[in-house]
């Protein structure tokens, strides 16, 4: 081969490699700008850059939505289900992490010009007052060329000749993808919000433990930030407002809650000026400070509040009365009241109680001459119940806890939950009369498959401690004293009596099981136990984990199936929090056993 030929071959090969390189990036499409034909994995693309990927996604799916909520990362905490319910609309959450007001303005203009928009909710965060247009990384923080007006050749060229490690990372992440939210794919594609299925079942209770887990709230760092972009930001909002007015779009502007100490970062005058100028442009709902701002458990960090707070905000805006909303939460700020309102931002006067300590006790079988830790004699049981009653405890059911958390419905001053696991006949024959006598309510968590088993373990030859029947359950429920809930239908098997190779002794996923198989099994079990609970005349809202064991995926599935409370066997007290459904997950319980005297029991449940 001559040198000339070789050189031509070389240059041709280089061109070929360049084309292959671009093809690879285009096909894997880690930012979703080329249609993501192979993976169709927009939750990943949006995680890489929500601005670009959401525009690309909406261009294909805008027909499915008629309303939008837009803003920086805290916008994600407005649950779209709540918005859809109250506004009778189909919302898409256009949260773009790190969004500045220019991003919001351009994106709003784009959706108004190109899509059908009925409602537009604009989430203005206090940080929008100091950054208007940030110098941004042009891969992960820039807008789509269609929105930002960038030259398409440079835009698409940049994503085609991307560092291929972005593409490799996407392939790698796909291999490791799970049903649960992973840091590489944090978006829920169809709602546009962050996928919070894991965060929403994160058990929250005791404040000290929370501060331990979220150290940012301890030793809060001191900083000072001046709001230097007020004029530009309000001007930007004004443009959006004008555009909405011209197009007959219902614009709602919301100033979201901040953690109390975060507000101290900003000079008071700056904040006042920001909100005054905002009111001059448009009336807005202000949630910046309230009793919510004082409570770290409502926040992930200083600027990011939980979905539970979003639910309260939407409830307030929509004037709902079936969700808990603190007294001082949310003010509709207009030109008339703004000057008065901004003065009150630094004083939180609401002292309402929004947490409650609720001890839960746990019993199993009641027998004469108990031999095991899970057994207790009728005498001891009655002694304990009597003592609780004498001490002024009022027994409540799971539904009462749910009403407290969801609706803010008050609990008695000294509430207690009495619970039984498994559904033994002794619960009906011995416990039920005693409970009635002292007018103490209790919840019995039955194993669906053994309800009514008098002599044999399910359909086997093996003997079983007798369990009450569905009729007996019904009778108890009707009395209003007893609630029947789930200890699973058949996920608390007694291994020695089971034929299956791998008996389900608890609710955990088998190691050799796929997520899908496990979720199917769990969902089936839930629907079966639901039937049993409904036969007894009750409604399924709570699950006591067999052996107290659970894992994240369990909770995610339970939560998705309307289970509002779950119970473990950790011997600790519980703090439940109004407006925070997670506080009903993984509740702790004190085991009642024969050797525990009434005095000792009181000491136990009154400790922290």
């Amino acid at each position: 081969m001559t040198s000339k030929k070789w050189c031509i071959m070389f240059f041709a090969s280089v061109i070929l490699v360049v084309i292959m390189y671009a093809m690879f990036n285009v096909l894997v499409d880690p930012f979703g700008v080329f249609g993501d034909k192979i993976f169709d994995w927009y939750s990943y693309n949006m995680t890489n850059n929500p601005r670009v990927a959401k525009t690309a996604y909406l261009d294909k799916h805008y027909n499915e939505y008629d309303s939008y909520i837009i803003g920086c990362s805290s916008t994600s905490s407005f649950p779209t289900e709540d918005l859809n319910k109250y506004f009778d609309a189909k919302f898409y959450n256009l949260i773009m992490y790190g969004a500045d007001m220019l991003d919001v303005e351009k994106t709003s203009e784009y959706i108004i010009d190109n899509y059908n928009v009925k409602n537009l909710i604009l989430n203005v965060y206090i940080t929008n007052g100091y950054k208007y247009d940030e110098e941004e990384d042009n891969l992960t923080r820039n807008l789509h060329a269609k929105v930002g007006g960038e030259n398409p050749i440079s835009f698409y060229g940049r994503y085609a000749f991307l560092d291929m490690q972005y593409s490799l990372a996407k392939i790698k992440s796909k291999r490791e993808d799970t049903y649960l939210t992973k840091p590489s794919d944090v978006f829920d594609v169809s709602s546009g919000a962050y996928d919070k299925k894991v965060r929403d079942v994160e058990p929250i209770g005791n404040l000290e433990k929370y501060l331990e887990a979220y150290p940012v709230f301890k030793n809060y760092p001191q900083e000072s930030i001046e709001l230097t972009a007020i004029d530009k930001t309000t001007e930007s909002i004004n443009k959006i407002k004008q555009k909405c007015d011209e197009n007959g779009i219902n614009l709602i502007v919301v100033a979201s809650p901040v953690y109390e100490k975060y507000l101290e970062y900003f000079p008071k005058d700056d904040v006042k000026e920001f909100y005054t100028k905002l009111a001059q442009v448009t009336p807005f709902w202000d949630f910046t400070t309230s009793i919510v701002s004082r409570e770290p458990r409502y926040f992930y960090d200083e600027t990011h509040f939980r979905n539970a707070v979003g639910t309260m905000m939407i409830g307030k805006i929509a004037g709902s009365d079936d969700v808990y909303i603190p007294e001082d939460f949310g003010t509709y700020v207009t030109l008339e009241n703004v000057s008065e309102h901004v003065e009150t931002l630094w004083t939180i006067e609401n002292e309402e109680e929004y947490t409650k300590q609720v001890p839960i006790i746990m019993c199993h079988n009641i027998v004469e001459n108990p031999t095991e830790d899970s057994e207790i004699s009728p005498e001891r049981f009655e002694e304990q119940i009597k003592r609780l009653s004498d001490e002024g405890y009022i027994a409540v059911l799971m539904q009462d806890l749910v009403d407290y958390v969801e609706k803010g419905k008050e609990l008695p001053e000294k509430p207690i939950c009495i619970t039984f696991d498994d559904g033994y006949l002794s619960n009906y024959e011995i416990a039920y009369p005693i409970l009635k006598k002292y007018n103490m309510k209790a919840t019995i968590f039955v194993i669906g498959s053994t309800v009514g088993c008098q002599t044999n373990y399910k359909n086997t030859e093996h003997p079983i401690t007798p369990h009450f029947t569905i009729e007996q359950a019904k009778e108890m429920v009707e009395s209003g004293i007893i609630s029947i809930q789930s200890h699973t239908y058949d996920m608390h098997q007694w291994a020695p009596y089971e034929d299956a190779e791998q008996p389900r002794e608890n609710i955990l996923k088998f190691e050799n099981e796929t997520e899908i198989e496990y979720m199917d099994a769990l969902k089936k079990d839930i629907s079966k136990i639901k039937e049993v609970v409904e036969q007894s005349g009750d409604e399924l809202i709570a699950v006591a984990y067999p052996s107290g064991k659970s894992e994240t995926l369990t909770n995610v599935v339970l939560n998705a199936n309307d289970i509002k409370a779950t119970l473990t066997i950790e011997k600790e007290n519980n703090t439940i929090i109004k407006g925070l459904p997670q506080s009903l997950y993984c509740l702790n319980r004190f085991n009642m056993y024969e050797a525990l005297t009434a005095d000792e029991m009181i000491k136990l449940i009154e400790g922290d």
Binding site: Q165, S184, H304
Partner: protein, 512 residues
Amino acid sequence: MSLVSIEFIGFVIISLLLYYMIPKKYQWIMLLVSSISFYLIGGTTAILYLIFTTLTTYFAGRLLGKCNKEDKKYADIIKKKKRLIVLVTALLNFGILFFLKYWNPVADMINNTLQVEKISRLELILPLGLSFYIFQSIGYIIDVYRNKYDPERNVFKYTLFTSFFPQMVQGPISRFDSLGNELFSEHKFSWDNLKDGIQLLMLGYFKKLVIADRAAVVVNAAIGNYTEQSGSVLLVAMILYCIQLYCDFSGGIDVTRAVAKMFGITLVDNFKRPIFSTSLTDFWRRWHISLGSWMKDYLFFPMSMSKPFVKFGKFVRKHIPGKAGKILPVSMVTFIVYFVIGIWHGGSLKYIAFGFWNGILITTALLLEPFFIKVKQKLNITDKNKLFYIFQIVRTSIIVLIGRYITRAPRLLAVFDMARITFTNFNLSNVFDGTMMNFGITVTDYIVIIVGTMIMLIMEAIDEYGVGTKKILEKKKVIIQWILLMISILTITVFGICRGNYIASEFIYKQF
């Protein structure tokens, strides 16, 4: 501008296009413009140092040239005058070199020793290619002094000699009599040159991007924190450092020579497969050749021939009988040369120690040579013995490796620490138990380093003992050549771009 950047490739392509498009007699001017632009892109103030060296040595050269032409009658006076010119020019330029390179390290050293800030650090920029162009132009001055050739009259042409851009980053140190002609003569575009250039360029990028930059991640992480490592990990890191150093340096020289080749200019080679060195002396003949030969021509010989040394030699021979007496003076000079090479590497005690290490070993070897020959005779070992040859290579590698411990240690005293750790806490299992995964690169990267190094060694072995890799490849069928070419381009693109330093996009979600 880094030799491995897209900008550099773009710069070269544009320069090449212009170079071959303009009339040939202006080609050297084009090269000068490219060189000055290249220098200016890197920073504007640094060029003042380059101009200073260029002008002082240019005029010194002109003066020396005049002296050479003067009447032989006044030989003595002229000789003195010429010496003075060389001395002043050398002092001025080496003065700058020493000042810029060693002021801060020396200040640090003194301040640290005294525990007070006696000498303040200065904000000094180290101009690109400083030591290379100073050595190159001093070599020129000495050559003219020796009347080896006439000085260059055209100051711009001379400037091209001192500033030729491909060799600004890593050398080599060229000689005026070979490089000058190549630079100033007219070059017709040649596909052969282009092909050779591309091939060399690919080899250089392969060494630098695929091997060296990966190894560097491990080396920096492991040795930067050497007290935490066990001996085996440290040893592996040091071996990787040797690989890194060789691939980075020789790869850089390959790129330099490749670019020059495309302009039709052949630069001297700086490396001759040092892995196959049979002795430390042999190693220095194969490693950074242009520095070694500069030292030989402009330091070793003049010093050996100088009057004081000749006298000293006579004195020694008189008082120490036998071979030792003959060798000792030579050893002294050798020792001094390696001492200077040590200092050339940087202003730190460890480099002085490095010089000592080489100097001591080489002089000892010289002194003990008769003894070794006797031992070899007794053991019946000839130079053709293959096992002995392998033994020599292994021995040399170990000696070089120990030398690298000295230069790579964070401080001089750390060398002893590192050596102690290597020997007392070896713990071989740490190499395989996942410890190596904590240094920022993945298993794939290690495999790339190992396979890459093996490919390089095989190619070098073929070049060393066989007909040469290039010749073998050129005989293959076109399709095979093309497949190999595609594999090479893909390897350099994929593994060259995806180095261990990629930071995945930040996933904000974790924060809330």
